[in-house]
Symmetry: C3
Subunit: 373 residues, 3 copies
Amino acid sequence: MALDTTLERLTSPWDHLAQENTFVGFLDTLLRGCGQVMFQNNPLTGLLFLVGIFINSALLGGAGLIGLLVSTLTARLLRADRSLIRAGLFGFNGILTGIALAFFLRWNPYLIVYIVIAAILSAVVMMALLHFMGNWDVPALTAPFVLTAWLFLFGIYLFSNLRPSEFILPVSLNPGAVVQTDLRPLPAGLIGAGVTPLNLVEAFFRGIGEVFFQDNLVTGIIFLVAILINSRISALFAALGSLVGMLTALFLFGGNGFWVFHGLYGFNAVLTGIAIGGLFYVLTWESALYAVIGTLVSTIVMASISVFLSPLGMPALTAPFVLTAWLFILPKAGFHVLHPVALTDVTSAEHIRHDFLEREHEAGVGRTVQPAP
Amino acid sequence: MALDTTLERLTSPWDHLAQENTFVGFLDTLLRGCGQVMFQNNPLTGLLFLVGIFINSALLGGAGLIGLLVSTLTARLLRADRSLIRAGLFGFNGILTGIALAFFLRWNPYLIVYIVIAAILSAVVMMALLHFMGNWDVPALTAPFVLTAWLFLFGIYLFSNLRPSEFILPVSLNPGAVVQTDLRPLPAGLIGAGVTPLNLVEAFFRGIGEVFFQDNLVTGIIFLVAILINSRISALFAALGSLVGMLTALFLFGGNGFWVFHGLYGFNAVLTGIAIGGLFYVLTWESALYAVIGTLVSTIVMASISVFLSPLGMPALTAPFVLTAWLFILPKAGFHVLHPVALTDVTSAEHIRHDFLEREHEAGVGRTVQPAP
Amino acid sequence: MALDTTLERLTSPWDHLAQENTFVGFLDTLLRGCGQVMFQNNPLTGLLFLVGIFINSALLGGAGLIGLLVSTLTARLLRADRSLIRAGLFGFNGILTGIALAFFLRWNPYLIVYIVIAAILSAVVMMALLHFMGNWDVPALTAPFVLTAWLFLFGIYLFSNLRPSEFILPVSLNPGAVVQTDLRPLPAGLIGAGVTPLNLVEAFFRGIGEVFFQDNLVTGIIFLVAILINSRISALFAALGSLVGMLTALFLFGGNGFWVFHGLYGFNAVLTGIAIGGLFYVLTWESALYAVIGTLVSTIVMASISVFLSPLGMPALTAPFVLTAWLFILPKAGFHVLHPVALTDVTSAEHIRHDFLEREHEAGVGRTVQPAP
């Protein structure tokens, strides 16, 4: 509570400035776009996300900024609804697209052009999916990013000016092959292998960092703090997601140990946890359990989509999160034990729960009063 | 008619008991869930399906029961509409998921956990698709099973605790390769090769058995009898489907002879035949022909989806049926020669046709009367 | 204008005859079906398309005619809305399906049966997608053709009676492989390599011809004239599409030189240009730019879908156009700088723009008048 009040005092003058000054307003839009990657409509959270990215890699940060800027400007030039733009809804797919293309492709002048075109497309796809999914009042999530980045990554086998980084590596599938399950980093030797506290901490925070393709312990820590600033519930479910992804991969399914260390089973679970845990359903004990099952499922889906794309050597990106969250959000009012949140009412997990409890209270009072007359 | 009356006398006390007693009611729900795999909302049909499965394999039967139980309980715990649960709509994807995972993966303790999680997901996906497809009043069919089972099967390449059975076998595609077209069983020697009456009978009934992944002559016979108990029209179209799948693969397209023998071109045609032949369109001569074309198309789609997944070594499951039936059901009222049935009116093919003829008759009487005044 | 009037004088008696005489009416339906492949609801355009195809290959022309005839008859027998049939909406997927199957499969008697079944399915899928996409007032485009042709092409690996032509060639993906970027035809020696005026002209017109899988300079010229007869705007955007596809592949992305020469980066851009440039959005400077970006994106999508299917050796067909155009049309009214056209109002680009300007004018007059009283 005390933390909330202090932060409000800090952000209030900024909000004021953002409304008055066009340039500050645009900066605010960009930062919110960055924060929306993890559903945090908060410029300070967005700023910390950027800090976390730049600490790990200035190159990826720069590519992300190009994507963020271009996708947001595209939405403005095409005159999308101002409220959508201001909430950062066109920026978050742009920044992810920029980072992903710079991560999976080698740096050269053509790559910048490629990122610019991709960021434009990500804004168009966002509007397309807003319209398409709006039919069921289900969010587009990071689907515009996933679709755009896949289309631009797959194509490179036919484009000599765009060359893959070492992370694009097609493999033939062999059902008899042994999965290496030792928990350890990929360039071996840096840290000892095995289920050690250090390795578990690394895996936990890298799982959060990998949401932005940042394979870095410190970045993961900064990201978790950035979420915590805006929502304790979201931070809790981000942490739960990374934990579930990492622990089930390690101890239940026998997942690839490199993958666990680098957070690759975890980052889709992080996003799934945040989305279902308090945002698209009101946080209750039932929805919390539903969210945990969602994180568990997203871990399996991460493996399956990765396998599906392995003959192409292409990454699953955040598709496991998108698919899992869609499947868990689409039932909506169909499961009466859960309380779905209308898209227009999705703010922060705390506000959503507060409003719900207030309505419940009023309804309860109403119910008690009603018999009277 | 006489058979119908006898059966009604037999099932009526059971229905009475199922309404009074919670435990019998739940048992009834489970059996209907089993029957719904072939659209038969009848506990006796479901019981015979189970008998057919256990005759072939107690292991697959056990895995199926776990799936059936867990998916039905999940829907109850999440408080889905009682009428949907009671009709077995959450059970049929669960039982198929359980059987498929036990068929394509090796037995070990982790597999049970895997089946439980998958069955939970199948109930969530069912509700998601009910909401999604409900938009067009089109049924989810076995899509929740297909999607869930694919997600859980693909992942095993990255999970050392889940190992594939011998049916997971990736192949590289070679357009010049010769397709072996001799009609015969896979472990050769048991039965002579060639288009013999015995081999055709085997292929015909195995095509029906394979709907539940039961590659067994006797099981196929029991399944057909089980359908016949509830609906002669559905049994007719199940038989037509298996025939069309087998005969066109053999004599028109030159399909793989092993596949024909084991009913693999047939089982999707069985389901497509039942669905279009009298359930989602009123049975008329025109819709019967439409259904036969559907079974023919589903045979081709079985080949194409299998080819698509062959680099992964993964099975098509009942996806060919789902895709074909969706394509043939979506046109609905667009083809005026057909009479689509609203989802809430889908009972048995006989009832649907009876109600339709009654309405036609009334409309006819109305039309004759109208000119009078 | 003068050209328009002359053409109207030419086509008017035909239109009269088509309404009076059943046979001429059916012929008119078939020709419009042919024209609708490029959105030109004009029998003369359709006739010229046919001429262009037959000049290149009588075999492909014949296969196309079977597909055109069967799909149109299927829609009539199933009693689809007469107005849809008369506009050629069931024919265009049929003719494309016939040509594509004859292009990618070897000629034999079974192929004719295969084409007939596929053409029947294309009409069913068209109605299914009309119903499905109608939800968002978004056109089915050539999706029924793409889906049908894929299903029938993939299956051939399991059907010995249907054999692939030399254009079905699976390749393993290798990120290190060098893309050959020299602009030249595939059977080398005919024409010198390099960015010569002749090679650019070849690439430009073949890009238009490839919409119907016609890899031929003269056919491409006839196609462009055929479009021009019905709509100068559509012809302009067809040309722009081919140009953008060819030039960006050559100079921006470093595409495969064989592909550029044979128009393979261009034909999806041609269709995307026509669709977005004046048909599903009113032609304005803003929508023209939006259309050009669409053609650019479709070029990249062509590469990516081709790569995705390369382990199967299967072609992308016009899927890149369908996906790109859907993404660019779905935003509709969401981008206020664009003026979307309702599906029922899609006629020719010229009529659409004329009606829009008239409405704008009236609104302008209204606005000026309003303050008066």
